[in-house]
């Protein structure tokens, strides 16, 4: 991981704040006020905002290092949503939006807006919104004929039906039919598809963090847990599983780097599609292998493994699962006149 002093400070704070108890509370409906304050104090939600607009002045790769902490420490807070939301707000030069801010996944949202008497009327339904119940503001992308609009909707203007993802993280439905002030609606934002792809990139990054944690937990367990008079890590059959697990974690990391570099680039969608699809498949294998090595203890509520394995299972579904992104990659291949290899070399997202 990155070794910048800022990253090290962030990692220390995240590690100290999000211990097993906090993560468990945050995974069963509690809002971690202190944790969120610390994350805001570090400026982490501004990680994807340009320095000129009040951001941290770090590149997407370093922002990815920060977001990977969410996966590694199972931080049960909407940092990805806040990062992407802050970036959208900064691009639209919309100031004064009150946090915590969350973002409605555009492909899980139906929204219609129209101008009414100097304000806007908006109605629709946003589903699977991370931590909508705790957010002050929900950001919604409203498609329109001319260009999409960014809507900063006060959470108080709609009704919330609570739900959760496979990891127990809040994923709420939000219904609205309301008038909102003109200042809360901005034209010319990213399209729903662009925001969807950016969201997929951020989930890919988080998956890599969780996969790394699964590997570390599993190595630690295999070194300590004794059977037949020696640590199970000494058995070749277990070593083979550990090696396979390390391989899948490395795949997740490569996908993470690929997605981070493609984030917000003009032609980044195919790379993000490849990365999210690949990370989703590899992540499930890391979870499977981690559980296999742990045996029954890893299947218990009491043991921490599920805090990470369930997140991986949840995150690979969000912002498009493998079925969705594989079809996108496949279509890109069919559209690529010079074939699949040329597509791959065009979208490797290497450094230049």
């Amino acid at each position: 991981m990155s070794a910048s002093p800022y990253f090290e400070a962030a990692e220390r704070i995240v590690r100290d704040l999000f211990d097993s108890d906090s993560v468990r509370r945050g995974s069963s409906g509690a809002w971690l006020t202190e944790g969120w304050r610390a994350i805001e104090a570090l400026g982490l939600p501004q990680a994807l905002v340009d320095e000129a607009d009040g951001g941290l002045g770090i590149d997407p790769a370093e922002a990815a290092d920060m977001l990977r902490l969410v996966g590694y420490w199972a931080v049960p807070l909407p940092l990805a949503e806040a990062m992407l939301g802050a970036s959208l707000l900064a691009r639209g030069r919309m100031a004064g939006v009150e946090g915590p801010v969350t973002l409605a996944p555009p492909h899980r949202t139906t929204i219609r807006i129209e101008r009414r008497e100097g304000a806007w009327f908006a109605e629709g339904r946003a589903t699977r919104v991370p931590w909508a119940r705790d957010a002050t503001t929900l950001l919604l992308i409203a498609p329109a004929e001319d260009s999409p609009y960014l809507v900063a909707m006060p959470a108080s203007l709609g009704t919330i039906e609570e739900g959760v993802n496979l990891a127990g993280e809040p994923r709420d439905d939000f219904r609205f039919s309301t008038t909102i002030p003109a200042t809360a609606v901005l034209p010319g934002t990213m399209t729903p598809n662009e925001v969807h792809a950016a969201g997929a990139a951020l989930r890919t990054i988080m998956i890599a963090g969780a996969a790394q944690r699964l590997l570390d937990l599993t190595l630690g367990f295999a070194d300590e847990h004794q059977q037949f008079g020696r640590p199970i890590a000494k058995f070749q059959a277990v070593q083979q599983n550990l090696a396979a697990l390390a391989g899948q974690a490395a795949v997740c990391r490569a996908a993470c780097d690929m997605a981070a570099q493609a984030l917000f680039t003009r032609d980044g969608r195919p790379a993000i599609a490849m990365a999210k699809s690949r990370a989703g498949e590899a992540a499930a294998l890391t979870a499977h292998l981690a559980h296999q090595v742990h045996g029954a203890i890893g299947f218990t509520e009491e043991y921490d493994l599920h805090l990470y394995s369930r997140r991986i299972l949840a995150w690979r579904e969000e912002y498009g699962n493998e079925a969705e992104w594989n079809a996108v990659v496949g279509q890109s291949c069919l559209d690529s006149a010079d074939g699949a290899w040329a597509l791959i070399t065009r979208h490797g997202e290497f450094a230049r």
Partner: protein
Amino acid sequence: MTAFDFPRPVMTPEAETLRGEVRAFLDEELGALRAAGKYVGWTHADPAFSRKLGARGWIGMTWPRTYGGGERSATERYVVIEEMLAAGAPVGAHWTADRQVGPLLLSHGSEDQRQLLLPGIAAGTCYVAIGLSEPGVGSDLASIKARAVPVDGGYRLSGTKIWTTNAHLSHYAVVLCRTDGEPGDRHAGLSQLLIDLGSPGIDIRPIIDMTGSHSFNEVHFDDVFVPETMLIGLRGNGWAQVSGEMGNERSGPDRFLSSFAVVEALVRRTREKPSDERRAAVGRLVAQVAVLRRLSASIAEMIRKGEDPTVQGALVKDIGTALEQEIPEVARRLFAIEPSPEAADPLSALVGSTLLAAPSFTLRGGTREILRGIIARGLGVR
């Protein structure tokens, strides 16, 4: 944390320009074959093809000009070899010399050895085999029995090497043998000798593989005289030298692109007969290759920086070769073909030849089990 470091791979404008030149060359050379599904793959040796690459400066690309090299960047070399592999070009004749022997001689060889071999290798006219495995000694290389006894002016080598790829076409072989100590000494006392395969006392016998091809050989050395000047590096340091070389052998794009021609054929066939299932399945394979390519290019970057890629190389090869084996199976699930290397239908022909070659993918250059042992050691559990 236990993450293995994979540095960010690098691409340069010069390398992308070169990519265009390589693609144009490959289209010209292989276009007709590829359209017919007559893909031969990178292990196939075609000396005429190797000479053409040598004439273009695409072998020994990064080596010093004094040895016939091109002093091009590692990135440019990576682009050339990945384009060759993706196209299934018949690079087998010069492949091990370019990939392993050249770098070995540049780091451990004598000036005379470099002058003797490198210009010919770079020209695509001098081929070099690698003699490691022996009958009964496969993965457990430290148990080899080939022995070189010191004599006046050199050594006398006796023993047998097996699975020696393209020895019958090669001019030289780099042979790992025991010069000192006893078999019980394991890694200590092993040395690498550079053998002129025209020397008296050498018998090269073909081993036909299950695809019907001849690339493997059994090579017998009967009291073969090897001049002192043909010892590579230090006497007794053979194991360390071989280990470094294996890092290069295992980490390249040849470890995930062996079946790639099938993917291209699947794209073409899906264009003709599209379905949602086929589109997604092709997309999945392409996503897998794209991420592996990133890992592999990252290892090339490690080698460029002088870092040791042994564990990362093993990891990429483990995942890459599993994908190589899965690709023809995916093809079978998507299309009701009857694979056969002789089929008139290009997809059936390609899948047929790939299926027959597939068992070797997770064996050559270190079996999956050995690789996972290397990874486990890298993780600190062995």
